[in-house]
């Protein structure tokens, strides 16, 4: 039904929790093999968007097609296509790194030898060989995040959701993760990424959508957006288009609380991510 070169097609998507409208009519299109960054402050609705597209939550209205499958009517088709790494670690801490990956290989119904090869390959490309047989509970934050992403990749999904993949990571781990995302693109995988770091969107994404208060307030390539707002950086764009500065750097806060974030002036903090 949908164009094979289109990975994600969203039209008129809305979602409310009780009286709180989290998404107020989202339209967007992500071409296959590209990185799309959904950029916005806490409480903008980024995580809700990912949860709808990854079949965890149902939208109130509107349509969404992922990998050619309708998220509402064909969730199993969507699930066969996608891999999801959320902002909360989804690893099994009592298992070792290798066992976590093996679990994914088994659930993907890979043949035994095929699964073992895939696990070894991912351990080495994610720099987890030395820690492979240690329990994941002993891993550092960066290692956990790498394992989490490696688990998502075991089944070679064509479309990957990364919900705030670098929140809470130190700069080095963040750059390692960016490197991995760029490698994914060489395998022509589509990446749908949410972030509150402007730098991250600028670095990785072909197209950026600015989400604010449940609406997509601007969309385009990083260059287009900068031109549109007459600014040098995406920071300027954000300020020009939303009337307030991009977000706090509170790494511990989560996007799921669904309440309005504290949008106080944090331009000082903004300097810190640069």
């Amino acid at each position: 039904m949908s164009n094979p070169t289109t990975a994600i097609e969203v039209a008129g998507l809305t979602k409310s929790y009780a009286d709180n409208a989290v998404l107020r009519g989202i339209d967007l299109t992500v071409p296959a093999g590209t990185v799309y960054a959904l950029l916005g402050p806490n409480g903008a609705g980024k995580t809700t968007m990912v949860r709808i597209l990854s079949t965890l939550v149902r939208a109130d209205a509107g349509t969404a097609t992922v990998g050619g499958f309708d998220v509402r009517r064909e969730p199993d088709g969507v699930r066969r296509t996608i891999g999801v790494t959320g902002q909360f670690s989804a690893i099994d801490e009592l298992l070792t790194g290798r066992e976590n990956l093996k679990l994914m290989a088994d659930l993907a119904h890979l043949r035994r030898d095929e699964g073992r090869a895939r696990v070894d390959e991912l351990l080495s490309s994610f720099d987890l060989v030395a820690a492979a047989d240690r329990r994941a509970a002993t891993y550092s934050g960066g290692m956990k995040r790498r394992l989490d992403l490696a688990m998502t990749l075991v089944s070679r999904p064509r479309l990957i959701f990364l919900d705030e993949p670098t929140a809470g990571l130190d700069p080095r781990s963040r750059r390692d993760l960016w490197q991995i995302v760029r490698q994914l693109l060489e395998d022509s995988v589509t990446v749908f990424l949410t972030t509150q770091y402007l730098e991250e969107a600028d670095h990785l994404a072909h197209r950026v959508g600015l989400l604010d208060g449940g609406r997509l307030v601007a969309e385009g390539t990083p260059a287009e957006l900068k031109a549109q707002a007459g600014g040098e950086t995406l920071d300027d764009v954000f300020l020009a288009l939303t009337g307030h500065a991009a977000t706090s750097l509170d790494d511990d806060s989560d996007d799921d609380s669904d309440d309005e974030s504290d949008d106080s002036d944090d331009s000082d903090e903004l300097e810190e991510i640069r």
Binding site: A90, E93, E99
Partner: protein, 269 residues
């Protein structure tokens, strides 16, 4: 491969994961088995001499070895039921841990057979129950428990205990999913371990005040314990057997529906 094959395959994968958890968290298993063993020692050696003498047709002499032996005989079925309840309780903790750690969300975004996460837990609980019973029964025998049951009686007793385990495990899965946190999940199913005290398990129900006796006679654990007692004594449980099986099937069916609904609807934070 068919959907059913995948479901079986995925359940086996989940079972493997849960068994690893059980092996790597031995203190919980130790506590689960230690609890009925401790109760057995307490009730036989501390209370047994006096309680045994109070049983209908019990030993004349209060505090004698005969009373203790009688009382061991009387409470053994209740201890086995508590063993089953104790293991089921751990399932609530395991599933709540899964749900709070976000790994369930990962499973739910994968093309994994829907029920496999839950059936994996149930299968693991049944294996753990078998293991716990294989420790507690010989321990009771060691203390001098001498049931008269033949092969049929033992098969009936074990069958009913596993059916009870199935029912209580599904119930605990639902309670664990409904709990929202590991702490709550370790508390809400506690009534399952306490309820056998309000049954025919430790004293005859007609020795209780009438209101309490009514509760004790009409709660599910009483027919289960009476049936076990009959099976282990080598006699026929009669109508109690049907009540016991009926209660277990009812609890299993309702809890299964509840747990499944919670699992599908679950939205981890």
């Amino acid at each position: 491969m068919t959907t059913l094959t995948y479901a079986a395959l995925d359940s086996a994968t989940m079972l493997g994961r849960n068994l690893k958890h059980i092996l790597r968290y031995p203190s919980l298993t130790l506590m689960l088995i230690g609890q009925p063993v401790l109760f057995l020692l307490l009730f036989v050696y501390v209370f047994g001499g006096t309680m045994g003498a109070g049983l209908p047709g019990g030993a004349a002499e209060v505090g004698g070895a005969e009373g203790r032996a009688d009382y061991l005989d009387y409470i053994a079925p209740a201890i086995l039921v508590m063993t089953v309840a104790s293991v089921a309780l751990s399932t609530a903790i395991y599933i709540a841990k899964d749900a709070t750690e976000g790994i369930i969300d990962r499973f739910r975004t994968m093309s994994v057979a829907k029920a496999s996460v839950l059936t994996g837990h149930v299968l693991a609980a049944l294996l753990q129950t078998s293991f716990a019973l294989a420790v507690v029964v010989p321990f009771a025998l060691l203390l001098g428990y001498r049931p008269d049951a033949g092969v049929v009686g033992w098969l009936g007793a074990v069958g009913l205990l596993l059916l009870l385990a199935l029912a209580l495990t599904w119930l605990c899965l639902a309670l664990g999913l409904a709990a929202g946190s590991v702490e709550t999940a370790s508390n809400t199913p506690m009534f399952l371990v306490l309820l056998p005290f309000l049954s025919s398990g430790f004293v005859p129900t007609d020795s209780m005040p009438s209101g309490l006796a009514w509760v004790a006679e009409n709660q599910p654990f009483t027919p289960v314990i009476d049936t076990l007692r009959a099976c282990l004594a080598g006699s026929s449980p009669g109508a109690d057997g049907w009540w016991a099986v009926g209660w277990c099937l009812l609890i299993a069916a309702l809890s299964y529906a509840w747990a499944r609904r919670l699992f599908v609807a679950a939205r981890a934070g």
